[in-house]
Symmetry: C2
Subunit: 342 residues, 2 copies
């Protein structure tokens, strides 16, 4: 949908590759209005691995094709996620208004198109949660709507939003209603009971855009049950007081089992490119939860381990040579060391 | 085929698990005469990953089932391998007799049932290779045949050996012919030209047992072509003089592209359990070349990365706590250190 922008970016990457002496063809930008180009690439015997960011439907289709090849290849697809956020009563007591404002911003950040967008807020029913829902609703309506990436994404947002809000026993508590520009999205907040959520799998599905649903659970036990029944997620967030984070141990344990990154008293939107980042999670957050799509370890998707046995020192890669010409830390006879090997 | 032995071993493992306080059910030994038990286990939603050692047919069947699940799971199948060995002319000139004796032993080690058994020896045609083939044939016949693991494996060995040796333009140069005991296997060495090997994919298939084929290539170029057309392998071995290992750079590079472990002037049989071991390789040696089945890194098949963001220090796993209670080396702000975090 932005082929011109894509071409500009691609030409910059190719120039950078040439300037830094990388091999011809190290980068290609291919365009297609359908799935043909991707399908043909994936089937080609010369292709050994695939990375993908997009929908569950698209990622799974690529995964299935890759698994059916004579030589199966890995597909690292980062797909859907509703990034559950648990908001506990004492935390709301302490600073509920602040969390409501923070989450109004997180839900609408980038018109809700972050893969780590918080689409599901889980609380325990009661006065504090009701007040939070009211404040969140008031705050999110104040935010100016913004433009989605392209009309198809807006179309899908509207269709999914309509499907979600038409479910029985769901209440729309906030919806931007004034006139908006073309391709802009109306932020929306809904709420359901824990029972309703548990009994309707449609409510577990992602509404990609500035949409979030607050689930009012009966108690900690139901909260834990709901989390354990969620599909795999990129992130999970716990908003808790210092005492709650210790008393809700089972809830946190359930969350850890379903996500790739656990956040304490923050928002899931925003992904730092650093060694400790994990951007991935149990299926369908990603097709391979053993790898991250962001951070230095993401390179591991494209390499494989290799052993040299009794190989002549002068022919080893520099990283393995006895005199350690790269000056790196290495495991030698079970000891991590920068030393040369004598 | 050894259910009683299996049960004895299983009971020892379960006792060890109990003595060391591991959870109930951490280990189970299930028996089946067919594929039903494995199939049902693999389809169960509670099963999250599969390890397997066996045939390409069996491993691929499990892989296919796992990829078709609603939630696909990884299958780490270590499957077939013919473990190519390149034997270069100068190395044969220097000590051809010694290599022939060494390989007669390696081919018959464990009745040829090592997954790293050298099933394919690649040389360059000429007097030195002919002498090597003669010596290897004489030496391998001297070795007493031994018993295979069970009658089905022997049956498959006999069928595959018959299929291989009935191929056109293949010559049987050694075959143990005296009377042997029940379930014992007859070691066999065959030879073909490089052209014949290139044109007959049946010759690329594994004959699991004490069988090896010597391919006499026209020249280094054909040797490289043959290697590049092989399927993925656990190991590749280069028998070379000091000068040959530098001049046959393209041959070695082709080999590196097809294997998970490269051995210089040795035998592939024997796998050390150590951090630098890689026991795996491009498909079909294994279904996932990014993981090893042997050595400390094999544990990575069963874990996934996880990020804790802003998580309270006292609730972090010990490995991540600020005061480093385990005393391990950690990456802190891009520096590998044993230090505590202040």
């Amino acid at each position: 949908m932005h082929a011109g922008t894509g071409e500009l970016v691609a030409s910059a990457i190719i120039k950078a590759a040439q300037k830094t002496g990388m091999p011809e063809g190290v980068f290609s930008n291919l365009n297609s209005s359908g799935i043909e180009v991707g399908t043909e690439l994936l089937k080609h015997p010369g292709v050994k691995a695939v990375g993908f960011t997009g929908s569950i439907k698209g990622g799974r289709a690529l995964y299935n094709l890759a698994a059916q090849r004579d030589e199966p290849i890995p597909v690292f697809a980062e797909m859907g996620s509703i990034n559950p956020v648990v908001i506990l009563p004492e935390a709301l007591q302490e600073k509920g208004t602040e969390w409501a404002k923070t989450y109004a911003n997180s839900i609408t950040l980038g018109t809700g198109q972050f893969c780590t967008n918080p689409g599901l807020l889980l609380g325990i029913k009661g006065e504090k949660l009701s007040t939070f829902i009211d404040t969140l609703s008031q705050e999110i309506i104040k935010i100016e709507p913004s433009c989605m990436l392209h009309p198809n994404i807006l179309g899908a947002y509207e269709a999914n939003r309509k499907k979600a809000t038409s479910q029985a026993e769901l209440k729309v508590v906030a919806e931007y209603e004034s006139t908006i520009k073309e391709n802009y999205a109306r932020q929306t907040v809904t709420t359901v009971s824990g029972n309703t959520f548990l009994n309707n799998a449609t409510l577990h599905q992602e509404v990609f855009g500035p949409y979030s649903m607050v689930v009012a659970c009966n108690d900690a036990k139901q909260l834990q049950t709901i989390i354990s029944k969620l599909e795999g997620q990129l992130t999970g967030t716990i908003i808790a007081s210092n005492s709650e984070i210790e008393t809700y141990e089972d809830v946190i344990s359930a969350m850890q089992n379903r996500v790739g990154r656990l956040i304490f008293n923050g928002v899931p939107t925003g992904v730092e490119v650093c060694p400790s980042m994990n951007h991935g999670g149990p299926y369908p957050a990603s097709t391979d939860s053993r790898f991250t799509a962001v951070g230095i370890h993401s390179i591991k998707r494209w390499v494989r381990p290799f052993s040299y046995q009794d190989w002549p020192n002068n022919l080893l890669p520099d990283a393995l040579k006895n005199n350690n010409p790269l000056g790196i830390s290495r495991l030698v006879n079970n000891k991590q060391t920068h030393d040369v090997i004598i």
